[in-house]
Amino acid sequence: MTTALTDTRRPASTGRPAPGGSGLTFPRVVASEWIKLRTLRSTVWTLVVTVALMVGVALLAAWGFTQAAEDGGGSAAGAFATTVGSNVAQMSIAVLGVLIITGEYTTGMVRSTFAAVPTRLPALAAKALVLTATILVVGLVSVALAYLATLPLLAGTGLEIDLGEPESLRILVGTALYLTAVALLAFAFGALIRHSAGALAAVLGLLLVVEPLFGNIPLAFFREVSPYLPSTAGSRVMMPDEFNAALGGEAALGPWQGYGVMLAWVAVVLAIAAVLLRRRDA
């Protein structure tokens, strides 16, 4: 292999900071994280799977609703049917949220990241920002595609979605918001636990095991706590008011209150992760 040895410092274009030129800034760290996100095949595939799940399950659900042959349920029920894929799509989203950070630890990439951004927190914040924007967009696109795909199926069933109706719109947009919060929760656990398997077990265990368990144990303590668990609370933002009332009784959290509770969980776990990120050896 021939290599140009004498060319480490070129007179004109080098990496040295020019006036107003290169140097570490937060927008640049965000740009770097965006490159990292889109240059991993696993990320791209996970996002494709997410969209496919959202649209596929929506089609199934819409078809199921038309077969039930009841008198529809209105626009909100239609919106719910269209977004019910979020139940499975949240799994792929959680995997992505975890791997985006634990992948750096398991491969050693994190040492390169922290060597470039030695104060560390900007790197964590940039990652969170890029993840939030990506999942929000992918979530909205998935919902839009699911809406369009189910239009013909829902037509004439009494489940037609009225986009002008606030509740239906809240369900549609809320689904994208919920998925974003799931991604951030998973990301926060990933930053905290730093091992892919451990963090995945924690997040999926919480979403699939702990929360349903709390919801089903007929003891006062579990019944009291259950509505405030992250996914249970957050998923209210993508449910029709009718469901929320039925689920929560009188003390039910409103859709936005519930979502706020989920974001508070995200903030707490992320804050702990951020504190430890500064302290731990990379």
Partner: protein
């Protein structure tokens, strides 16, 4: 310029780096030499703020690494050839690193060319050989055209041509006035590459001096003698200041005298010589003697090192 003052790192009860103080100056290649487990990598990680010292401080160009506004322009570090996501291509890895500092695409392609990675730049790093990984690590380190380079075992896994390339590269970088700090457990490599050595063993600095001085300090010359009459020669040489060690059935090593004197003593005693060779102390010997007590993992068998170990300064 890298300045470590009283740098200490403990992991639980184990002390990896123990009160280490040294200065790495610009314009020369400073070797960081020590056996495996001596604390070299830990020290280097502390320099760039990846590990937090238990005690002590380390600064780069007068400031802790994390306080620099453009860290990649200050220090280029090859800390671990595997500090790259295996699922990303070399080009994308470098682009992502460059993006944090707004370093342009031209420089990315420049370092790829410099390290000879053009043909594999678009391949995923997971499939790279150790040598390719090292080249990518060096490319990352050079991205910001830094004043200071920190290279942890850069020749590990390189073929002879790659080793020569690294040697020439670091000498060239130092000649440009940069600070080059290079770790290795291979003393032979250091003898060829470094101007100055910081030798560590079990987390402590055991020597900090120019390479020539470290070789010289370990004693100048020994004489190897092969004779069928080893016993008689030993007696003939027996006088103050001369140390005779038997290293084989008919081989002696003599220190404290010269080859000429050994030859004359042999002639006077009527001893037949099959070989009379002055042996210059190599850096390897010097290193062995410096770190003899500091090696963490002694091998139980193997050649006896005792003769070289007696004169630790």
């Amino acid at each position: 310029m890298i300045e470590a003052r009283g740098l200490t790192k403990r992991y639980g009860s184990k002390t990896a780096v123990d009160d280490v103080t040294f200065t790495v100056r610009p314009g020369q290649v400073t070797g960081f030499l020590g056996p495996n487990g001596a604390g070299k990598s830990t020290t280097m990680r502390m320099v760039v703020g990846l590990d937090r010292p238990t005690h002590g401080t380390v600064t780069v160009n007068g400031r802790p690494y994390a306080q620099h506004r453009s860290p990649l322009h200050e220090v280029g570090a090859l800390l671990d050839a595997k500090a790259v996501h295996t699922g990303r291509s070399a080009l994308h890895h470098l682009q992502a690193m460059a993006a944090t500092h707004g370093i342009g695409a031209a420089r990315v392609h420049e370092v790829i060319a410099m390290t000879g990675l053009e043909s594999v730049a678009r391949k995923r790093v997971g499939g790279f050989s150790l040598g390719m990984g090292q080249r990518l690590g060096i490319a990352s380190a050079l991205l910001g055209d830094p004043h200071t380079l920190l290279l942890d075992e850069p020749v590990n896994g390189l073929d002879p041509e790659g080793v020569l390339w690294v040697r020439t590269l670091v000498r060239h970088l130092a000649a440009e006035g940069r600070t080059v700090f290079l770790s290795s457990h291979l003393m032979s490599e250091m003898a060829l590459t470094a101007d100055h050595l910081v030798v560590v063993g079990r987390g402590r600095v055991v020597a900090d001096a120019p390479v020539a001085e470290i070789i010289g300090r370990a004693g100048a010359v020994r004489v190897r003698v092969r004779t069928p009459q080893a016993g008689r020669l030993s007696q003939a040489l027996a006088r103050g200041g001369v140390e005779v060690t038997s290293t084989g059935p008919d081989t002696l090593e003599v220190s404290g005298t010269s080859a000429e004197e050994v030859g004359e003593a042999a002639a006077a005693a009527g001893v037949v010589l099959h070989e009379l060779t002055p042996v210059a102390r190599s850096l390897e010997d010097a290193y062995m003697s410096l770190t003899a007590d500091e090696v963490e993992y002694h091998s139980t068998s193997g050649p006896a090192l005792a003769p070289a170990l007696t004169e630790r300064s």
